[in-house]
């Protein structure tokens, strides 16, 4: 078996080399697919190559070196910004999620097209997935099921504690045959059984949360006891949203399941072509899904009463209400003063939901998204006379003496400045990306009055640091 593996890898790499030598237009067409593959291991080579090829395609850049460098840097800016040019609509997201994670543990998962095999690769990423899921959705719940030998077996109960699920997956990975867990994948999967079981799992969940099913399916068949279309119909009725991650190939029935349970939207059916792809697809599903219009209507919000207990430390150990163990510190329920060890959880004595306020705060950037920043023209720069980034103090390029009519690159700013539409401060591209993807704050809006057009004598008003006319 290992021999064939090596052979396969060799083939793959030689194919890659071949691609590298081809170049030109044929390569350009392939770019999307192979670029993605290439990012997996060597990382930089394909991108570097692509950037170079792209600039070569442009006839006017050959003229002089300074223009070439400028063009390349501008392209880099456009690439960086490409990702943030979305998502400013504050659409509603399902922040309290109920998720059934269905794993394929059928013999198709023993295929060695991922190394060491699909099953091991899947288990390896699941742990990371679960941690990331609870990081993004701290007040959500997961249950893990597996499709094994035609049946569907529950691995962990619906719970909001990541350790429950990670332990279950670790047990599965250790595969010592204990606890009726299988040593190895076996048999064929049954999507119908999985969906029916998911439906049962999610039946009692409250309406204000989402009901989601995520199936990781390696097999290209489903071995069902009855009519799966009836099951799909009842899933639709129960408002389940099913997404499926396939491996290497699509199946018609999966497309149908996803499209019918997502109101005709097929984007929930992704197919992983390698292990990095699988990880990306998994991670993409950790961010809370957008609520559909129909859901928004009937999802009248519930007011949930929650407690935000503070952590205390005591001189003498006392019993915690959750485990009955002697502990020194813990969190005190603000309503009944019971001590619990960890958050989030429900107060064992008064049933109040106890969470950290930081758990809630993590999703606020979905509610109050940062507006996209605008590209700044040279005319605007002449007006505002900004010389450095408001955020990181990086120098901006100076105003060109004559209008050289530089070719505009879509998505990047000719002056390398980006202006916040609310506070009119100017930022560099790195701050643009950082603020929209990590910080979700505008450093300008948060720190004082909006920038004003400087007076003609260079005197600064309001904010002395962003505006400096004296340059």
């Amino acid at each position: 078996m290992s021999d064939s593996d090596n052979e396969y890898i060799e083939d793959h790499s030689s194919g890659d080399d071949h691609n590298l030598n081809v170049g030109g237009s044929g390569r350009a067409q392939r770019q999307k697919g192979s670029g993605r593959n290439a990012t997996s291991k060597p990382g930089t080579r394909a991108r570097w190559e692509r950037a170079l090829r792209d600039t070569n395609n442009e006839p006017n850049v050959v003229a002089d070196d300074s223009r070439l460098a400028e063009n390349i840097s501008r392209r880099a800016e456009a690439q960086k910004r490409a990702r943030i040019r979305k998502d400013t609509k504050p659409f509603q997201r399902g922040i309290i999620r109920h998720m059934v994670l269905v794993l394929d543990v059928s013999e198709m998962m023993l295929e060695k097209d991922m190394r060491p095999n699909r099953y091991r690769v899947m288990l390896r990423y699941l742990e990371e997935y679960i941690l990331e899921f609870f990081e993004q959705n701290p007040i959500s719940q997961i249950t893990v099921l597996m499709m094994y030998d035609g049946r569907c077996i529950q691995l962990s109960e619906l719970s909001g504690n990541p350790n429950d699920h990670i332990n279950a997956i670790q047990k599965l990975r250790d595969g010592d045959g204990k606890d009726e867990l299988p040593k190895e994948p076996k048999g064929s999967p049954s999507l119908q059984n999985a969906l029916e079981m998911s439906r049962a799992m999610l039946y009692h969940t409250p309406k204000h949360g989402t009901r989601e099913v995520l199936i990781i399916l390696g097999a290209l068949l489903t071995n069902d006891p009855g009519d799966i279309h009836k099951t799909i119909a009842s899933c639709v009725k129960d408002k389940l949203r099913v997404s499926i991650i396939g491996i290497f190939a699509r199946m018609k029935i999966c497309t149908e399941i996803v499209s019918r349970t997502n109101g005709g939207d097929e984007s929930g059916y992704g197919v992983a072509t390698d292990d990095v792809d699988l990880r990306d697809l998994l991670m993409a599903s950790t961010s809370p899904p957008a609520m559909r219009a129909t859901e928004q209507e009937d999802a009248a919000a519930n007011l949930l009463v929650m407690g935000f207990p503070s952590r205390t430390e005591e001189e003498h150990p006392s019993l915690c209400a959750c485990h009955g163990e002697l502990t020194r510190g813990g969190y005190i329920c603000p309503r009944c003063k019971t001590k619990v060890c960890s958050l989030p959880q429900t107060c064992p004595s008064c049933q109040l939901t106890l969470i950290l306020s930081t758990h809630l705060a993590r999703s606020y950037h979905h509610l109050f998204p940062l507006r996209n920043w605008l590209e700044v023209s040279w005319d605007r720069v002449r007006e505002m006379r900004t010389t450095q980034c408001k955020g990181c103090l990086k120098k901006f390029p100076g105003i060109p003496t004559e209008d050289d009519g530089a070719d505009k690159m879509d998505g990047s700013s000719e002056s390398s400045r980006y202006e916040c539409p609310s506070c009119h401060h100017h930022f560099c591209v790195d701050c643009d990306v950082f603020c929209h993807q990590t910080l979700y704050n505008c450093p300008g809006c948060q720190s004082g009055p909006p920038a004003q057009v400087p007076a003609s004598n260079g005197e600064t008003t309001g904010d002395p640091m962003a505006l400096d006319g004296a340059s």
Partner: protein
């Protein structure tokens, strides 16, 4: 256990003898708060102490960097590096000022030049800041713009991280850029994993004195805290005066140090062991607190037991009034926090109608009912009921 120990040490050593470290200080410069402290701990003394701290930070590693921000009454200002003074090389090369030759500073030849540069810059900028705009009495009572200062500090730290390791940042940013479908959050997680093993370390020290509460900046503050968490930047807080809820949460979430410092003559505290001369006992205590509590960088903190108490105030601010609450209503759609009892029928944040569960509405009634029951019992058998509840 031995194996674990060895790997930890090994990784620290091989990672390079000294990972460069950026220290960003955010100094609360609200004039009103400092004037309250002027008898025990004047701003000038604190500034002197902070400069010693900064110099120590620069002295321990030649590649270390410093940035100082003032969160003032109605704006945030850079104290160091000085923004935009026409010298193009200045802000791009702060690595201890080796490249930066300031001719006018040559006169003082006894001082290590980077120390001198920083000292001059900070005092000049702070003087400009305090003298240039005189804020209104209303504005003086407003909270310092801490969320903004933190945002700027993080943006600056982010740039320094990018500079220190362009390869990581490049693969982190353009790598996910190639995968068009990758989500924003997936990107940030990639960013975080890329950064966790980072060589360049950074930390932010907030020196806070104002009493005004920060709940109006709750969301901005929390966003900054999570960004700091992702960049692996601890937020250290030195609080002079009473505790504040959110700063403590911030330092707890980013595993930073939170300490309160009481100037000795307001409350005689045991923290000032190194009292030297007359007035300087407060300053010496402050310096000791700074050096003992905040001096170690992220790399060193892995090997140390950091000070601070495990007690953390985790209360939240309600969106409706900015009140600090420990028990609140949460909108199930947008997770906005409201104080109870609720004053509206639909969520002000997301406009969805709020269905208030019975347990909330009936809670105040519960006592009334019990009373009614008692009365009923009383009606039934007055003599037996009279003795039990009221002992008069």
């Amino acid at each position: 256990m031995d194996g674990v120990d060895a790997t930890v040490r090994g990784s620290v050593r091989t990672s390079s003898a000294a990972p460069p470290s950026l220290l960003t200080i955010i100094l609360d410069t609200n004039p009103l708060s400092w004037s309250h402290l002027s008898s025990s701990l004047p701003l000038s003394a604190v500034l002197k102490t902070l400069l010693i701290f900064v110099n120590a930070h620069l002295a321990i590693n030649h590649a270390n960097q410093v940035a100082v921000l003032a969160s003032h009454v109605d704006n945030v200002a850079w104290l160091y590096p000085t923004p935009d003074d026409g010298d193009a090389s200045k802000q791009s090369s702060q690595t201890n000022g080796h490249t930066e030759v300031a001719d006018e500073h040559r006169v003082v030849s006894n001082k290590y030049r980077p120390f001198l540069t920083i000292e001059k810059n900070i005092s000049k900028n702070l003087r400009n800041l305090l003298t240039s705009d005189i804020p209104s009495a209303e504005a003086l009572k407003s909270p310092p713009l801490l969320a903004g200062a933190l945002s700027i500090a993080l943006a600056y730290a982010n740039l320094q991280l990018l500079k220190a390791d362009p390869m990581t940042s490049d693969s982190a940013s353009t790598g996910t850029g190639a995968v068009g479908a990758a989500d924003l959050d997936a990107h940030t997680s990639a960013l975080r994993t890329a950064r966790s093993g980072h060589q360049f370390v950074s930390r932010i020290l907030i020196v806070s004195v104002s009493q005004a509460d920060l709940s109006s900046q709750y969301i901005g503050l929390m966003n900054s805290v999570f960004a700091a968490q992702r960049l692996n930047i601890p937020l250290d807080v030195l609080r002079i005066g009473e505790r504040t809820a959110f700063l403590q949460q911030a330092s707890d979430a980013t595993s930073g140090v939170y300490l309160t410092y009481d100037p000795p003559n307001s409350t005689a505290n045991g923290t000032n062991g190194a009292a030297t001369a007359s007035f300087s006992s407060a300053t010496a205590g402050l310096l000791q607190t700074l050096m003992q509590g905040y001096f170690s960088d992220v790399a060193a903190r892995k090997l140390l037991v950091m000070p601070g108490s495990a007690e953390v105030d985790f209360r939240a601010a309600c969106f409706c009034h900015g009140k600090i609450v420990d028990l609140g209503g949460v909108c199930s759609v947008c997770l906005s926090i409201f104080c109870l009892p609720l004053e509206f029928t639909s969520c002000p944040t997301c406009q969805s109608p709020l269905r208030v569960p019975k347990s909330v509405t009936t809670k105040p009634v519960a006592f009334a009912r019990r009373k009614k029951k008692k009365r009923k019992i009383g009606d039934g058998g007055r003599d037996s009921a009279a003795g039990t509840p009221v002992p008069n």
